[in-house]
Structure formats: C-alpha cells, structure tokens
Symmetry: C2
Subunit: 330 residues, 2 copies
DNA sequence: TTGTATGCGTTATCAC
DNA sequence: GTGATAACGCATACAA
C-alpha cells in the first residue's frame, strides 16, 4: 500500500506537488503533472481517504435511515437521493433501523462522530426534541414521514388532500359504507390520512362510523386480519381505503377468500403505488407519491444545508397522483 | 465541537489518559476515570472517528453491494449481515449498483481508499479477474450469486439440486410439458438452475424441448411477456418453472388473464420465496433460500478474513427448502 | 511553479 | 498509573 510520500519520492517531487496533482490544482506544469500521474500509475497508488477526510474534516458521505429496506416504497426514493448525491460527489449509505430508536441513535452517532456529512430520515423514531437538537448541529432532513414540531427540514406530499381524494373517489362511485384501514402511530402522515378520510365523508353528508375504522401496521398480514374483521361485520363495508398498498392487498386477499368479487362487492384503494400494486390481481387503485422527486428534494435540502445556503428549516410539499385501476373500477 | 484535547485540559489530565478512558484501558484509576467521564459528559464530547480511523487504519465499516434494494429477496440476507456485523462492532452500508459495472467500481474504490474494511457482493458484475485481484488485497466475499473461477470466498445454496427438486415436483404431479423461464446472464446460479431442470427431465425420460424455454430478466414484466408467449403456443405447457418469484407471478398474471386456472390448467413454481410469494393469489410454490443464514455466513467470512483467520478462499453451500403452495397443488 | 512545514484528532510507544 | 510525543496520510498556508 503506497502513500503520497512514496509517490513524491519516486517522482522526485514534494508531497505538496503530488497533492496538487491529485486535486488538479491549476498551478502545476503539464510535465510535472504527467510525471506524477505516471508514478501514481506505476505504484498503483490510491489516496487514503482516511487522511484526506481528517484533514478536510468531511466524508462526502450521506446517511439514509430507513425502517427497513424490504419496503418497496423506499426503493424509488433512494434512487432519487442517490442520483443527486452522486452528481454532487457524495456517496450514500443506507441503514436499516428496524424502527428501533436505539438502532437509530447508533447511526446518529456516526453523524456526531463525523463519519457522515448529513443524514436523511425516512421515518424518524426519535422524538422531536432529539431531532431538533441534532438538526441544529448537523445537516438533517426528514423525507415522507416527519415529526411535526421538530425544527428540521422535511419534504413530503400533502397526505390530507391525498386521502380526501381517495375517499371522494369511492363516494363518487356510489359507496356509502366506506371502511378505513389506518395505523395507530404518531406519524403526522397517518393522522392526516385519517383526517382526510373523515373530512371527505363529512363534506358528502356521510356520517362517520367508528366501527368502520380498523388499524394495522402497514404490512400485508395486518391487512388480512383487518379484512377478515370487516368481512365478519353484519353490515360490512362496500368499499375500503387503506393507508398502505400492502394492507390493501391483504384485505383484498381475505375478501377474495370469502368469495367476494373486487371491485363489484368490495372496492379498494391503497396508498403508495408500490411496484407490486400494478402486478396484483386485481391491479390496485392507489395514490402515487413522487418517490424519485421526494428523494431528489431531500438530498437537495441536505446539500444546501451542508453548503450553508439554508439558515432556516424548510418544509417542502410535492404533488401526488391518484391512479385508478381495477380494484375500484372494472 | 470539542476534541480530546479540550477534555484533557478541562479535566487536568493528558490526552493519553483521556484516550485510555475512551478505550477503557485497565491501567487507569477509578477516580481519574470518573473525572474524565464527567468532563466528557460536561463537554458533550464525541470522539472524532476520522482521527481514530486514520490512526488505527480501519473503519469498522462493511460495504454491501446489491443490484437494487427494491428486490425483496435481499432484505432477509441484509438482516443476517447486519446482525453479525453489529454484534462484532461493525456497521454496514448498503450500496445500489444498478447492476452497473462502473457503479460497482466506484464502490470498490471506497475499499481501496480504506473507507471500508471489507465488501460483500450480492451479484458481482465485474469479471472474475478483477474480482480475484481485489480479493487478494482486501476482504471480499460473494453472497448468493458468484463468479465461478474467481479466487474469492462465496456462500450460496446448491442451485442445481434446488432446480432439480422443483422440476421433479412438477413431474410427480403428472406434468410432461414443463416450461422453463430462465435468464440469459452469466451467473452460475442461472446456469445451474437450467441444468437442474434439464437433468430432472432427462432422469424421467421426458425429452428436452427448446421451444419450452423462454428467458426474462428476473422481473415481473418479463414474466408477463414470457407467459404470453407460452400461452400463444399451439401446444402450451401445463406447468412452468421460473427461476424467480417475480417472473413466476408475472407468468401467472398473464395466464389468468387468458382465463386459465392455476394450478388446474397451469402449475407454476417460482424461486426465492420473496415475501409476496405467500401473499399472491394463488400463493406460490417456490424454493426458499436461507436468506438470513446466507447473510450471517457471508459476514462471518468477511470477519474471519479481516482477522487473518482465512488464508484460503472458502466456498460455503447452505441448505434450501422447497415450499409447496397453491400454485401447484390445490 | 514548487517545496517546507504545520496540523487535522486520535492512538500507542516510550519514558517517568 | 500517568504524561510527553511521535506517528497515521493528507491538504494547504506560506516561503521561496
């Protein structure tokens, strides 16, 4: 493993000159530049970024914390983050938190320990105080899910109006008994989606019925369970709005097992437009978040913060899209 | 941002002592230890790992290169890798390669630049020479997919016998015209799965028919396309073995659209047991790789190599499991 | 245009 | 048991 010293010695120049060539400083003759580059090749020299990073006190590395990589929803977002990062000379490292606070803190330490230049939270578990605190010291951005009240930038869609639109779609199809499949967590998106559902009902003179509301954990199995509960009701719903595609698909599965036809006997709307939504039978009506753009915007915010162009936390809202497929309209 | 110097000064000790406390060296009095720890807390001091890493010339960081994180197959493997890594004081960073060699090389540079202590390839794109070369210099392990002939450790299942088992299952159900949905890449697993299919046919006196072989890219859409081609045949197959669950599901989708019943009119076997396999309608018969264990084993190999306990590349084969579900047996 | 010298924050070797 | 101090590999201010 050769160092910059070895290159300097063999080329007969100083380490400063080699360093200049490495960072292609303009103030170096073409000949010496060639000479140095040759020597670098000859020695198969690779700069040790540990030294460079310490000296520059930056790593060109961005942390992305996800609850779990297996959720296909995150794939598109990560792509956006990566594209913007790479375009700006940054690398991204994805980290599974398993929705575990302690795991999240370990990764936040990487930031405090200067092993990363910034972090993007996909679904922060730490409370808003802790988030605000680290956000003051380092470049931190929340993407999609976010803690309201934390003084930290975030980018997301307008979940309230998305849920409103989904519910209104079902109402427009003539449904009166519309089930809601949500989650019992403190994410603002969750709450806003439930609020959007309720508001749409109210605006169309459909009385809210608490028995039509069930909760899951975003996952397939919880969707199946909730679906069974809905099917077991004396007066079961004729339509269903689930705040995740996975839960929507789970509910459809259990409805089909009961012999119900989708959408004739039960119309279903999901949320997220995961790739599987268009593969399922029936194809799922859902709300599509601009995943790629959300990722790009989040990474942009981090970069602006790193560069000191952002003195105030910024809240960005991107447009969503409502996609009508077989699960609501034949 | 306080440094070890600040702590030393405020505590009235030397940086050496502070460093000893940080690395809990035994040779330090309980009182000075307490004193230092108090000062650390008072200053809210966080050791700068950039300095430590340079000094120790290690990062406690492992790179995991995946073709794309959206493939649910990788989730379980990554979990295994992470668990073993964390247990040993290592962090893992996941990196999307998009099956792009140049992207892969960028991440390999992180290894050469000492920003990572080792790397696990999930599906190497670089050729075996390049792989061998970097494997000689650094701790490198291949997981699941691997380049044969590269002198680099790997861990995987026995793809030949898995494919053999899948095909034999279909034969046992009475099928004679069994389609094969593979891929045209150079991965050894791909080739072995096709060979296993052929061998099973031969062993049961079913002549191999090239028209019953189609190729895709592991993805859903390519499965749909191949499915349509199969359905369009004069004498279409009554069973299908796809080397990925996504392709299997795609093929089922197009078969169902043609009005075929699964498994009565077409029995289908997939490969990988991704989480969707059990969610789909019908639930998919498939081969389950021991994802978690594969990840653990791969990380173990990296660690042993880092510790110098591995002087020879090692090839590990783990057991797989054949899971029979609705798509082949009602 | 190039070289010298210093320091980034830490660990570890050597004294005491 | 503790303290000076020299590295680790690199970038850069300053000098020449």
């Amino acid at each position: 493993m050769s160092t910059i010293q070895d290159v300097a010695r063999l080329a007969g120049v100083s380490v400063a000159t080699v360093s200049r060539v490495l960072n292609n400083s303009p103030s170096v003759t073409a000949e010496t530049k060639d000479l140095v580059n040759e020597t670098i090749k000859k020695l198969n020299y690779q700069p040790n970024l540990l030294g460079r990073n310490l000296r520059r006190s930056q790593t060109k590395m961005i942390l992305v914390l996800l609850p779990n990589i297996s959720n296909p929803f995150y794939a598109g977002i990560v792509k956006g983050i990566e594209d913007v990062a790479h375009k700006n000379g940054y690398n991204v490292m994805l980290c599974n938190t398993d929705s575990d606070v302690s795991r999240e803190r370990i990764y936040m330490d990487l930031l405090r320990n200067r092993l990363s230049d910034g972090v993007i939270f996909m679904a922060p578990e730490v409370n808003k105080e802790e988030l605000t605190e680290i956000g003051k010291l380092y470049p931190v951005v929340q993407c999609c899910e976010y803690k309201e009240g934390a003084s930290v930038s975030h980018v997301s869609i307008d979940n309230f109006s998305a849920a409103y639109k989904a519910t209104r779609h079902l109402i427009g199809l003539g449904h009166k008994r519309i089930g809601f499949l949500g989650c019992q967590n403190t994410f603002i998106s969750t709450i806003q989606r439930e609020n959007g559902y309720k508001k749409a009902l109210a605006d169309h003179d459909i009385p809210f019925d608490q028995t039509l509301v069930k909760y899951g954990d975003y996952g397939f199995t919880s969707g199946v369970r909730a679906g069974k509960q809905f099917m077991a009701m004396k007066e079961r719903p004729t339509a269903l709005f689930a705040i995740s595609d996975m839960m929507a698909i789970g509910a459809i599965k259990s409805a089909k097992e009961e012999g119900l036809r989708i959408p004739e006997d039960l119309a279903v709307v999901g949320f997220d437009n995961i790739s599987f939504a268009a593969m399922y039978d029936p194809m799922l009506t859902t709300i599509s978040q601009p995943k790629y753009d959300l990722g790009c915007a989040a990474m942009d915010l981090v970069l602006r913060r790193i560069r000191g162009e952002l003195d105030q936390p910024e809240d960005l809202f991107l447009e969503h899209e409502f996609i009508i497929r077989e699960s609501t309209v034949k």
